[in-house]
Subunit: 592 residues, 2 copies
């Protein structure tokens, strides 16, 4: 129906006849002539209607925004001084000979150029929202990312293999979406949270290298920027150790960023242990673009009278840490109060600080409500250890280590943005040597920090059984980019006796292990190869690359924070017959 | 952990040291030496252990089938006369220097070489079944097919765009799988039967060219070779008519078959109308490799006394058709009885036939129980019209047209295989000009033959409203290969008034249309472009290309005919808390 996309009509086509199809982006009369900006996926093109072509002129005169037109005409250079250098097609226009109205349109619910439209309206009329060039570009970027992944992994002999969506509920994970079975009354499928066990089974099947770009599901309360269904690039390989896997995946990400975004990542991504990341940044996915670090000062404070510091400093599970903010001395009282509220959300009970006006002038050069509680020598040591310079400010966190780490990690990122301290564009990082287990105080038990199939560093079942659970380190690795976790993976357990031992340390007894993971434990008995893999969160990766403001902006049809599709109005009620067929009934919420 | 795949070790590596990993396929002692055939995804390799390397020899001596080994050794030529020309690595062997047992294995539940293992056992131990080279090859073929599709469609500017899996129930389709919502009590998501409406909405969003290799779901009773979840290649494009779409898709299939299977399909696929396909083959997906056709003989039989023929011959909804079977005169009475039973499954009440021993000898040259009921001139006309030759047999179908078509279509395929009449390897066909509507006698209403969004050939809403529903032809097209429907699609309705009119003809009133399809009808009001597309069944396509016996053999983890995963034992019961969270209860089947 057309010879060219609107955006592809350039000076190379001067004096040629073209046929184009698209949407009326704007129509205006000017000096008895009608101008229509016609828009398609590739761009916009100015079309001119002269009154001497009566029929075409009359149709153009009727046309309104978002009408769909097919136009035949000749490409000509725009008159001098009227070129639009912002458009690829901005040097030319098309003089229309014929016009066909392919469809009319009602007045749009919002202007495509309007950047201040509520997200609910955008989602309800998603077919309009997706006509915006920026939104189309996000989806184009997403398609380029997945296309690159297919090419890269196909090239390295990875097989794209599909795993089931109707599967068995995952114990030990987040809440599953369930699907009632019609043929098996009272039984349910679960939608996969990840293809973890299936990809391990594929390795046990000898398929050697697997990948899949796959939808995953979690029925969790949706925090900002989470979706009930999300997509991951899932990779698994046999006979490779963590060095080989991370090297290959690093190469993929490096080439991907170059190919899709023109970004040059470093030749070798830095590595950092989990312990170091927590110590220096309070978090296992530090944004290395922010030139601030946490500095432990507990040892300097164990003997001070100031209980707020001395208590956590003496507590083995406590921490006192300082965060030097370059130039932070200019922060106002009001700003500091706001940051105090901010860290309060992470459980911090306050936010002590010292403003450093002149570090050479002793306490006279400082300004702080806590100076009176601290010996001068301690203050001097803190200044020296943090490297404070004139004009800096030092914030303190003093509490259980978890609270200090979470609050100062968040504060660090917030300050980095607020004070525009961010350096460099892209800072990737591998975080390694994660703990195997994490104690949950509420449940009074250990959980696997990654998942229960992650291999420990030790090959010895006896060592695993004997060690302090908190001291055990796993063969897991996370790839972090600018403070976002792009992906995470591990070497998996491939010997049945080690898997049993890990279940035991997680407090899963033999009967429960058999009930929940019997098929995996059995498969491990039949010659499982050493294997490992990784999964990347596609939505977040594309969001970073596309520079989108939310993951909803890189998904065609996302859901709201209550899991609703405003366009189709899903979820919805269904008729009783359907429920009868599935052997279920709706249980109405009880009042009162 | 290795330098080469087992299957990649060839004479090019003679006298080099290699490291290989894999499974013990076979182990044997011969003349004091141990031979292990080591297997990985790429093939098998013979490894030799000499007793003078004591440690390696002892480990090799312990090894059993399916143990996982890592071996270091030197490649050498096999002794004269011991080469295995069936293996890529069959000219060489590896003299082992070192061996590492990566994992042991219990005695496998079945021998990988055993071709006579029950499917239940194979599915229960799928990780063993998938170690068979044939099964691995099927999954490799599948990966090559999807890889090709990505490359082809990316190359033509199609965007790989994901559509939701948690969506709204589809009225007018098969039964949906439902997913109870936790956040919206009493509401349900449905898993998509296809992304039909979303891909149309993407066209209305101006995204121009879309594709997706996407999981789809139907909660139907599973006939042989159906799966509750299946995969389709889903394509949609704007501003292309059916000629352009089928041409591009034909090119894709042609290049795909060449690239993946080395098959050369014709430069231009033949086209046939739905009516012609039904007339000549009784079915809209004829296998053109079978050189037999149905021939209508109703007009010759309206006046005969033989009611079995005359009744359907006179009935406007009846049909009498002949099927000439080349060489069929050699069929025995017992065989003919079996075919009679066979067509009975399709509702045929009998299977009349005439054996043609000598077509020049009048009725003397024929053999048939029905000759006595038919005038000789009629018999002569039938012989002439069917082109019967000596040694042929003519079968007859006489009943309602639907019964005749279905039974003779099935009989034709069965005879084609039984009598080895199949000619040529690959015979593609486009079937076009489908009816818009199909009357369902049970429900007493019309249904859309494809789906209710399929455009009619007429652009006139008035013509659509006025015409006999059975006379209306759609802009749908199906691609058939060797009697299998590979894909089907259509140009869609893009004007709201036409969509309303089609709903009306389907007996869907305005209120129901608004309730079920309101968002689509609204989207059509805002400038929907002309658009159309197609969907290919990936599982079946791969099955054809791979020469697999069932679609289960081209899926990594298929389900049984009752929708069970024998490996993971899904679906399964869930605890009451999970059901409470979802606001549902299981309704136990009522006894008696």
């Amino acid at each position: 129906m057309r010879t060219h996309y609107c955006g592809d009509v350039t000076e190379a086509l001067l004096d040629q006849d073209v046929e184009i199809c698209g949407w009326v982006h704007r129509r205006r009369d000017h000096g008895g002539v009608i101008f229509i900006d016609l828009r398609d996926r590739e761009g916009r093109l100015q079309v001119v209607f002269d009154p001497d072509r009566e029929e075409a002129f009359a149709s153009a005169d009727r046309a309104r925004p978002e009408w769909v037109l097919r136009i035949t005409g000749r490409v000509r250079r725009r008159p001098a001084g009227t070129a639009n250098n912002n458009l690829g097609s901005g040097q030319v226009e098309v003089l229309a000979h014929e016009i066909e109205v392919l469809n009319e349109a009602k007045t749009p619910p919002f202007q495509l150029d309007d950047t201040d439209v509520g997200e609910d309206v955008r989602l309800r009329h998603r077919y309009m929202d997706l006509r915006r060039p920026a939104m189309q570009q996000h989806l184009v970027t997403r398609a380029r990312v997945t296309s690159f992944m297919h090419r890269f992994l196909d090239g390295y002999g990875f097989l794209d293999i599909e795993t089931p969506m109707l599967t068995r509920a995952t114990p030990e994970g987040a809440r599953d979406f369930l699907v009632p079975s019609r043929l098996h009354a009272g039984s349910f499928y679960a939608l996969p949270q990840s293809p973890q066990l299936f990809k391990q089974l594929l390795m046990m099947s000898g398929l050697d290298r697997y990948y899949q770009i796959v939808r995953c599901f979690r029925d969790e309360d949706l925090r900002a920027d989470r979706q009930p269904e999300f997509t991951q690039l899932d990779v698994e390989t046999s006979f490779m150790d963590e060095g080989e896997i991370t090297e290959l995946m690093e190469q993929m990400v490096r080439e991907l960023m170059h190919d899709v975004a023109g970004v040059n990542l470093p030749d070798s991504f830095p590595r950092m242990t989990y312990d170091e990341a927590i110590e220096r940044f309070g978090i296992d996915r530090p944004d290395l673009r922010i030139p601030m670090e946490l500095v432990t000062v507990s040892d300097l404070l164990t003997d001070v009278d100031f209980k707020v510091f001395a208590g956590p400093a003496r507590d083995p599970r406590g921490r006192v840490a300082a965060l030097r903010v370059p130039g932070g001395a200019s922060l106002t009282r009001k700003q500091i109060d706001e940051y105090t509220d901010f860290v309060g959300r992470y459980g911090a009970k306050g936010l002590a600080y010292i403003k450093v006006n002149d570090p050479t002038a002793g306490v006279e050069g400082l300004q702080s409500p806590i100076l009176k509680f601290l010996p001068e020598s301690v203050v001097t040591d803190i200044l020296a250890r943090t490297g404070a310079a004139a004009g800096d400010l030092i914030f303190f966190g003093a509490d259980r280590a978890k609270v200090v780490n979470e609050s100062l990690a968040a504060l660090r990122v917030r300050l980095g943005h607020d004070l525009e301290l961010i350096e460099g564009e892209w800072r990737p990082l591998w975080v390694v040597d994660f703990p195997m287990f994490e104690y949950d105080e509420d449940d009074g038990r250990y959980y696997a920090l990654h998942h229960p199939f992650t291999a420990p560093k030790t090959d010895s079942v006896e060592a695993l059984k004997a060690a302090d659970p908190e001291s055990l380190v796993s063969r897991a690795y996370d790839l972090v980019l600018n403070g976002t976790e792009l992906g995470g993976g591990s070497i998996r357990i491939h010997r049945p006796e080690m898997q049993w031992a890990v279940f035991e340390r997680l407090g899963i007894d033999a009967e429960a292990a058999q009930e929940k993971f019997g098929f995996l434990l059995e498969a491990l008995e039949y010659g499982a190869p050493p294997h490992g893999g990784i999964a990347f969160g596609l939505d977040r990766l594309v969001m970073l690359i596309a520079g989108a403001g939310s993951i909803r902006d890189v998904m065609a049809f996302p859901k709201t924070q209550t899991g609703t599709c405003l366009l189709t109005d899903a979820p919805a009620g269904v008729d009783n017959q359907a429920l009868d067929d599935l052997h279920i009934r709706v249980r109405r919420p009880q009042k009162g």
